[in-house]
Amino acid sequence: MTAPSPRRQFAATTTALLDERPDLALVWAEISGQYFGDAVRRHPERVVNVGIREQLLVDVGAGMALAGMRPVVHTIGSFLVERAFEQVKLGFAHQAVGGVLVGSGGSFDVAAGGRTHQSPGDVALLDTVPGMHVHAPGTAAETDDVLRRVVTGAGLHYVRVVEQVNDAAFPADGHLHVVRRGAGATVVALGPVLDAVLAATADRDVSVLYSATVRPLDVTTLVSVAGAQPVPEVVLVEPWYAGTSARVVADALRDRPSRLLALGVRREEVRRYGTPAEHVAAHGLDAPGLRASLDAFLG
């Protein structure tokens, strides 16, 4: 089965929501325009292309929120979050208005494009913004689910839409889902790393938890599952900078001794092109790479 593209799903869901909600706006900056034709035709006042102007992109979305609209703001993650970070911090968070920021590309989609189009630091950066919710849907269905929830809801959200996908979809209800229950360590898969995690742990007696909701992270379920071990062993797998969520896990387990292995994208630039799969492997996030890390940590 060919999995549908989460980015196309983002466009389809947003187009449908624009029909349903007269207070919804879509602001974009050339990127993904090939998917927005219907939305532009049907809602020219609420679907605004600002051209290649990312600072403006984010502040226009924030300004529309100040005027009472619910804005969806989209471009490639690196330009949305890193280039226009102060607009996110001041235009949205400091003004105390909400919106939905949808960044595409993530860490690996544009592998052949090189570093300029990759944003493995987006989640860590947005983690500095008070009140920011972060979502990393792992399938097209989860992308649809996340968008419907956050567009209808309130607050400030980042939705990280990438083309790597998991086989199974889970409700994007904010909870860590117990995919597998074991007696040993607890492996937490965030976003589209679940298939590799399941493959890497197939012959181990571990628990596997999964969520598309990165912030706030469901530490209640985490502590409940990991707390079954006398000294909890937690392995965190996230497809952006390694350790981004380690502070949250460490804080949740601060009342007891525990061991934590935080896996993710390495900080140094790889300076290679190629395919997303090659980059996933280069950062040790494919099944063999994860297995090697688990073997070293768990013995």
Binding site: D23, A25, V27, E45, R46, V48, V50, G51, R53, Q55, L56, D59, V60, G61, A62, G63, M64, A65, L66, A67, G68, M69, P71, E86, Q87, L90, G91, H94, Q95, A96
Partner: protein
């Protein structure tokens, strides 16, 4: 305007120096040294449709102070217009005060944006204008920027798009006190005109010139008022 038995005395332009001195602590402080003073006063006294008793009225005109530095004239004007009490001014910028060296919309009635970092007001104002337009709201949006603030590249992004989208309810007032490095005489007005804005240049101290310039709108294009302040 609502009439009540305890309606506060409405203050006027002549009260602004005294109000500003409550913040500066300098009784000899010359309010005219504040370049934005006359533009702000004319806007609130003659141009904007805002109601201090209903500062969140959805139909109100929006005024965005992009240049958040030196907000004394802004605070003094808001006090004079009745948005918050004069008593707030004395301890401004203290830990317990709602008034800082840059304004915060969450803390101060009538303040539309928190500003301080330059180059956000005009892009935000364009978004507000588009949001109001999409909702069928005819309110105006006026944003005050400084001439040096226009050096921020984010303004260039907004300037082009605002004109292209025909945002006739958007007005930018540039308080030009010649403070930009590498400034070129006349360039500000030319930039706006080149992008398709309706542009007027006036004496930023002359209330009789400011009022019509700030009130004017042009069909299907945004307006820019360059208010020159040289003294």
């Amino acid at each position: 305007m609502t009439t009540t038995a305890t309606a506060p005395t409405r203050l006027g332009y002549d009260d602004l120096p005294r109000l500003i001195s409550l913040m500066t602590g300098d009784e000899k402080h010359d309010a005219a040294a504040t370049s934005t003073l006359d533009v702000l006063w004319v806007l609130y006294d003659q141009v904007l449709r805002v109601d201090p008793d209903h500062p969140d009225d959805p139909g109100r005109d929006r005024f965005l102070l992009s240049k958040g530095h030196g907000p004394m004239a802004y605070y003094a004007t808001l006090v004079a217009q009745g948005f918050f009490p004069e008593s707030w001014l004395a301890d401004w910028a203290s830990f317990d005060s709602r008034l800082g060296h840059h304004p915060d919309r969450v803390l101060v009635p009538g303040v539309e944006i928190g500003s301080g970092s330059l180059g956000h007001g005009l892009p935000l104002a364009l978004g507000v204008t588009l949001g109001l337009r999409a909702g069928g709201n005819p309110a105006r949006v006026v944003v005050l920027v400084g001439d040096a603030e226009l050096d921020e590249g984010s303004n260039a992004e907004a300037l082009a798009v605002a004109a292209a989208l025909g945002t006739e309810n958007l007005t930018v007032v540039v308080v030009d006190n010649g403070s930009a490095s590498y400034g070129v005489p006349g360039r500000i007005a030319e930039r706006f005109a080149t992008e398709g804005w309706a542009v007027t240049t006036v004496d930023g101290r002359d209330h009789r010139a400011l009022a019509p310039a700030l009130s004017a709108r042009s069909a299907a294009r945004p307006s820019a008022v360059v208010a020159e302040v040289r003294s």
